[in-house]
Structures are given as structure tokens and as C-alpha cells.
């Protein structure tokens, strides 16, 4: 908690940037008497491009929103760029108004509405209203011909990192039972859970993975209960797919079991048990869109990438990661970086015994079939 406060402190008051802005404001408020509107217009006309970023939760959640906010913070250092941000914006008309405000009141021409639920209908409606503004949405399924050309979606193949997490988990687990805490049984989440177990099974095919679905993206109490019940059942490595893995990682540390992170780096929360984590590296995407917007290049509507493209990355290995684990993870990562690693190989069975990928037909990462995954692979204990 203290960590979070400090971070906010930095954002709010201490950073040199904020200080500068404060100085400008001080000068501004002195000038207010002379011209109320003139000041803001002047101060806001300097940037070449204004970028708006919208988050569904707090920017310091150690998770989904923080991963996006880190990229936004890095963007602020680019010259000629102004970044405006709004956090905790619900997926209602509120986000439509937040987008419109950034465009009308701040002059933003490139927007990153980062929550999945912002896409349809909110972003699509605003895109129709403001056809000259670029809307880059995280996770949505932009489809050619169906969605406007000034909208697009970006996402990353983070299951690659969950597979690597699985390798580390497979080596670390003594009980051969690992666990996955999920918010909702939707394709993105199932793909991560499956990749995690497949990674672990590449170490030892006897490993099983217990899945617990909490039901929503942010339910800290249920998430803690899930970790505790898994620890009681002998699960000794846990990862998750919820908006903020903070509670999961902290609870695992308290129970003395290992954890793998998700969304952002949570190693500070579990110095003993944190093996590594699957992290987003959204700056790659943000920079690409900013450069395109600055140069007037056409908007990239469909952007996807994995480790190779620098869209995702692993947290630095934790103390508990042994030599063998490190070696296997590094070797696998090297193949992934070359782009020829296949996670979902042919002959794959789901946990009801049905063959879900025919033998000899591996699915490469870019295969859209993977984006509608609706099964759990053999060895995952749970139901979709």
C-alpha cells in the first residue's frame, strides 16, 4: 500500500514535470485576471499531437491498468506530445463523454480507450462522430469491413509468457499441482490458463492445474479465498488472469507458495515466491501509433504481436528460479523470439477427452481460431 501511495505522490506532486506544469499554472493564474480563456488556449496549442488514454480502473493497480499507464507515462517523454489521461471510467456513456471531452476540449486526435468493454458500442459510436480521430482499442476484435477505418484494435500473445510461466511453475512445483485464478471463462482467459498448464507439462506431463473462476475482473476477497483454498489443497504455484493480481500474489506469498505474475511486474509484492510474470509492453504499440499519427501514415487497424514483436515480456526471474528452470525457459523463449514456437500443437485434447486440435495440425499464434478458444486442455481441473 505504501508503495502505491509513494507512486501517487510522485505523480501528483514531486515529479519535475508536474513541477513545471505547476509553475506554468501559477503564472497562468496570475494572468487569469487579464485573460481567462487566453491562457489555456495558449498553453494547449504548443503540442504537435495530443494523445488521450482512458483506463477502467486506477492507474496504480499493479495490473491491467498499470501496464497501460506505464506506456502512457513513457509517451509523455516524447517531444511535441501531450498526453491526457482519465482513470476509473466505467463502460457506460461516461466513457463516450470522456472520449468526446478529450477530442473537443483537449484537441486529442489519437485515443487509447484501453478497456475491452469500451469497444462496442462506445468507441464505435464516437468513431462515427469524430471520423478524423484515431481510436486504438486494446483487445477488441476489429474486423475489416465491419468496423470504421479510424478504429482499430491491438493485443498481444501473452499466452507465450504464460507458457514460460508454466515452465518455471513446472520446475518449482513439488506437489505437481499448480493453480490458475480466472475472472471469467472467456477465450482470452482460457488461452492463458491452457498455455500455463502446457508449459508446466513440458516439464512434467503429470502436472495438473486447478482452475478457479471468481466471476468478475476485480473481486479481491474472492481472489484471496481462491488462493487460500488452493494452498489448502496442496497447490504450490499460482498464477491468475484478473485485473489486479496484487491480492493473488500477496496472498500466495503469505501462504508460502510460489506465484507467477500477470499484466505488470508484481515482484515487489512477493520477494520470496515470485518466479516471473507475464507482462504487457504496450509502449511498443503506443509508439507505433504515435509515429503514424505524427507522420500522417495510415492508421494500423489490426495490430498483434508477441514476445518477438516486443508486445509482451517476462518479469526478471525471481530468487526461487533454479538453474534447470532458467535454462529451459530461456531455450523456449529463444524459439519463440524466432517466431516458430507452437504452443497449441496437433493432437491436443480437452479435459473431457475430446480432441480439439487434430493430430499434425498445430495452430500458430496468429491463427484467429485461437481467439475463440472455449475449452480447457487435458489436465486442467475445472469447467468452462
Amino acid at each position: 500500500m505504501r508503495k502505491v501511495e509513494q507512486q501517487q505522490g510522485v505523480e501528483v506532486g514531486v515529479s519535475p514535470e508536474a513541477g513545471r506544469r505547476r509553475f506554468v499554472q501559477g503564472a497562468g493564474s496570475a494572468a487569469i485576471a487579464a485573460s481567462l480563456a487566453g491562457w489555456s488556449a495558449g498553453a494547449w496549442a504548443q503540442a504537435k499531437l495530443t494523445v488521450g488514454v482512458i483506463y477502467v480502473g486506477p492507474r496504480d493497480d499493479y495490473g491491467y491498468n498499470q501496464a497501460q499507464a506505464q506506456a502512457a507515462a513513457a509517451l509523455k517523454k516524447m517531444p511535441g506530445l501531450r498526453v491526457v489521461e482519465q482513470e476509473r471510467v466505467p463502460e457506460t456513456t461516461d466513457v463516450q463523454k470522456a472520449m468526446a471531452s478529450m477530442i473537443v476540449q483537449d484537441g486529442a486526435t489519437l485515443l487509447f480507450p484501453t478497456s475491452f468493454g469500451y469497444f462496442d458500442p462506445h468507441m464505435l459510436r464516437m468513431a462515427e462522430k469524430f471520423p478524423k480521430v484515431r481510436f486504438a482499442h486494446c483487445g477488441g476484435m476489429w474486423t475489416q469491413g465491419k468496423h470504421p477505418m479510424n478504429t482499430g484494435s491491438y493485443f498481444g500473445y501473452i499466452d507465450e509468457c504464460q507458457y514460460l510461466n508454466g515452465i518455471l511453475a513446472g520446475h518449482a512445483s513439488k506437489t505437481k499441482k499448480i493453480g490458475f485464478i480466472a475472472a471469467k471463462p472467456i477465450p482470452q482467459v482460457l488461452r492463458n490458463c491452457n498455455a500455463f498448464l502446457l508449459g508446466a507439462r513440458s516439464v512434467d506431463p503429470k502436472i495438473t492445474c486447478q482452475l478457479i473462476v471468481t466471476g468478475d475482473w476485480s473481486l479481491p476477497v474472492k481472489e484471496a479465498e481462491a488462493v487460500n483454498s488452493m494452498a489448502d489443497q496442496g497447490v504450490d504455484v499460482i498464477t491468475c488472469h484478473v485485473d489486479s493480481p496484487k491480492v493473488v500474489v500477496e496472498t500466495a506469498e503469505k501462504r508460502g507458495i510460489f506465484s507467477c505474475g500477470y499484466h505488470a511486474n508484481q515482484s515487489a509484492l512477493a520477494p520470496k515466491g515470485y518466479l516471473s510474470g507475464a507482462e504487457w509492453n504496450w509502449l511498443t504499440v503506443y509508439e507505433q501509433h504515435v509515429k503514424d499519427a505524427l507522420s500522417g501514415a495510415p492508421f494500423r487497424n489490426f495490430v498483434r504481436g508477441g514476445l518477438k514483436e516486443g508486445f509482451v515480456r517476462m518479469s526478471p526471474y525471481g530468487r526461487a528460479v533454479g538453474e534447470a528452470a532458467r535454462k529451459q525457459a530461456e531455450a523456449t523463449r529463444a524459439t519463440m523470439m524466432k517466431g516458430d514456437f507452437i504452443i497449441f500443437r496437433g493432437g491436443l485434447k480437452d479435459n473431457t477427452g475430446k480432441e480439439v486440435i487434430a493430430a499434425g495440425k498445430g495452430l500458430i499464434q496468429t491463427d484467429p481460431v485461437l481467439e475463440s478458444m472455449n475449452y480447457l486442455v487435458e489436465g486442467v481441473i475445472g469447467k468452462v
Binding site: 482513470e87 463523454k97 468478475d216 475463440s372
Partner: protein, 354 residues
């Protein structure tokens, strides 16, 4: 003469006291932002610019106020019958779900008919849900505040189960939703504005329910029940029926809010419906002192603060929590100022007689 000029009429009092409290909150907030290192004048200017200074800002404010108006009625109406119901969120989500199911089933039919059916279904669903809390109180003696809150959890669980299970549109992959009601059945925005019809529904409901409660014999009976249920019973009033009716009307308003969210915003029912409007409505109703008419300006105030909160975040890089501080200060002071009613009048009179 001097005394009568100093004396404040209740109407004037109802205007002066909350406005004064709001001004005090703004001054306090100014001190707070000064401590954070920002210029209070700049902050005030941004609040004004973000919420109220332009037609764009007003539309932003009004569209945020719209769902709060109906949600607040769910608290205010039962309160007039002496019941403290805080379960509007449950009625809202189930109302929205009913509307989505009806809208999808009737897709392609005469749009106004579909919309009326959706509204009716949502009102009945929301009304019955809150009436259940009233019935538990009336016939089983269970505290309606708690039961309505617990019923909300049940409603949300039921909603999630249905939307992610039997009612899920298979095409909604990563955001489980019911099947869409179709563009033709959507209710649009108010003419010339980017604010949906929910605002008009809310204002009309507030006016109608205000007249019902304040100007009809039925409303008079309801207020007697709210004042003293035992006395009302002794006077031969149908206490149970009045209480349940108030619950039904309140729940119906929340259900209608859910319908508006589906028919004007989302186009189907999904987890985005649970945006906390039902809970925000509790706040609005209390600030409005359970007066249906006062709900409209209070909702607009709250909507305006939310709209300008975005502005503060974007221009000054303040976290969202800063806006919550302002909201908290404003509402705490407005509630605290309730103790001033009657006193502003009493003192000058005492001086005059002395």
C-alpha cells in the same frame, strides 16, 4: 418589520442552505488542492469549464445525470413510506436484463411497441424485486435496508448466471452479453443534443411522482404511513398496500433506468450495466432529502462534478480520487447543513422579541 424581512421562508431556506454548503465545500476543496500544489482558482475554473461552461459541458453533465435521476427515485419513494431501501442496483440490472430479453424476442416489430414492451417489462421486474424487500419487511419483519442490499447481490449473481449462461449470445466472445435488441429498437438521443432520452424519462417520472406524493390523497396517505405507520393503521389506512406500492414504484423507476441503459446505450445486457448507478442513487436521494423534485438538480450537480472531474484529471494530472474528495466534502457538508433548517429563521425572530 425588520424581523419579518430577516425571516427566511422554507422555500428560500431550501435553496440557500444547500447552496451555502456547496460553496463551503468548494472553499475547503480549494484549500485541499492548494496543499497538493495547485492553484484553487485554476481548479475552480476547470470545474466550471468541465461541467457547466459550454453546451458541450452541459451535455456531458446531463448525460451523466440521466441514470442517477431514475435510480434515486428507487430510494426516495419507499422513503416517503418510511422504508429505507438501498437495493436499487439489483432492480436496475434485472430491469435491464428483462428489457434486453423482451427487446430481442420482439426484434423487427414496430419499434415504439417494442420499446414500450421493454419499458413495461423492466418496470414490472424492477418493481417486483424491490417490492419483495417491502413484503419481507411487512409480513416477516425483516429489516428492508439489509434485505434490499442482499437482494441486490442475488440479483447480480442471477444476472451474471443468465448472461454468461443460458441467455448468452454465442457471438459475444470476450464480453458475455445477451443477444442484441437490434438498432431499430434503440431509443435515440434528445433532439439537438447528445444526451439520451433517459434524461427526459427521469425528469417526467420525478414530476409525476412528485405530484402523486405531494398533491393527491394517495400521496397524503403514503406520507402518513411514512410519518407513523401505527397511527396510519389506526386511522384505517391500508398500510401494507401503500408500502408495497411505494416499493413497486421505486423499483420500477430503477428498472426503467436499466431499460434505458440497454435501449439507449448498450444494445444488450452485459456486465457494463453494473456501473453502480443504483448505489449513486442512494446518495442523490439523501441529498435531495427524499424529495422527488429535488432529485433532478442534485443529479445534475453530481453529473457536473463527474464531468468536471474528468477535466481535472486531464488538465492537472490529478488522480480520480481527488474528485471523490470534492464529492465527499460537498455531500458531507450538505448533509450536515440539514441541522440548519428552521434555525436560520428562529434566531432573528428571537432577537426581534428580545
Amino acid at each position: 418589520m425588520a424581523a419579518s424581512r430577516l425571516r427566511m421562508s422554507p422555500g428560500l431556506e431550501a435553496l440557500v442552505i444547500p447552496t451555502g454548503a456547496l460553496a463551503a465545500a468548494l472553499v475547503l476543496f480549494g484549500v485541499f488542492v492548494l496543499l497538493l500544489g495547485h492553484s484553487p482558482i485554476e481548479v475552480y475554473r476547470l470545474i466550471w469549464e468541465g461541467g457547466f461552461a459550454s453546451s458541450f459541458a452541459w451535455q456531458n453533465t446531463l448525460s451523466r445525470a440521466a441514470p442517477l435521476i431514475l435510480a434515486a427515485l428507487c430510494v426516495a419513494l419507499p422513503a416517503r413510506a418510511g422504508l429505507m431501501v438501498i437495493g436499487g442496483e439489483g432492480a436496475l440490472v434485472l430491469g435491464g436484463l428483462s428489457a434486453a430479453v423482451i427487446g430481442h424476442a420482439m426484434a423487427g416489430l414496430w419499434p415504439l411497441g417494442v420499446q414500450l414492451a421493454m419499458a413495461a417489462g423492466a418496470v414490472v421486474m424492477g418493481g417486483l424485486w424491490v417490492m419483495a424487500a417491502g413484503a419481507l419487511r411487512q409480513y416477516r419483519g425483516i429489516n428492508e435496508t439489509l434485505s434490499s442490499l442482499l437482494l441486490t447481490y442475488i440479483a447480480i449473481a442471477l444476472f451474471n448466471h443468465l448472461v454468461e449462461g443460458p441467455l448468452r449470445d454465442p457471438a459475444s466472445l470476450n464480453k458475455p452479453s445477451t443477444a442484441p435488441i437490434g438498432e431499430a429498437s434503440m431509443i435515440g438521443t434528445l433532439p439537438g443534443m447528445d444526451v439520451h432520452w433517459g434524461l427526459a424519462f427521469g425528469v417526467v417520472c420525478c414530476l409525476a411522482l412528485h405530484l402523486l406524493v405531494e398533491r393527491t390523497p394517495w400521496g397524503f396517505a403514503l406520507r402518513i404511513v411514512g410519518g407513523n405507520a401505527r397511527a396510519a393503521r389506526l386511522a384505517g389506512l391500508p398500510v401494507a398496500r401503500l408500502m408495497l406500492a411505494a416499493c413497486f414504484l421505486g423499483g420500477g423507476a430503477a428498472g426503467l433506468a436499466g431499460m434505458v441503459e440497454v435501449a439507449a446505450v448498450h444494445g444488450s445486457a452485459n456486465a457494463s450495466l453494473m456501473a453502480g448507478y443504483g448505489y449513486a442513487g442512494i446518495l442523490v436521494a439523501f441529498i435531495a432529502r427524499q424529495n422527488a423534485l429535488a432529485i433532478v438538480p442534485v443529479s445534475i450537480l453530481l453529473g457536473g462534478l463527474a464531468a468536471s472531474g474528468g477535466m481535472l484529471q486531464r488538465r492537472l494530472d490529478l488522480p480520480d480520487a481527488t474528485v471523490l474528495v470534492l464529492q465527499g466534502m460537498a455531500f458531507l457538508l450538505i448533509l450536515a447543513s440539514e441541522t440548519l433548517y428552521g434555525r436560520l429563521r428562529a434566531r432573528p425572530r428571537a432577537e426581534a422579541t428580545a
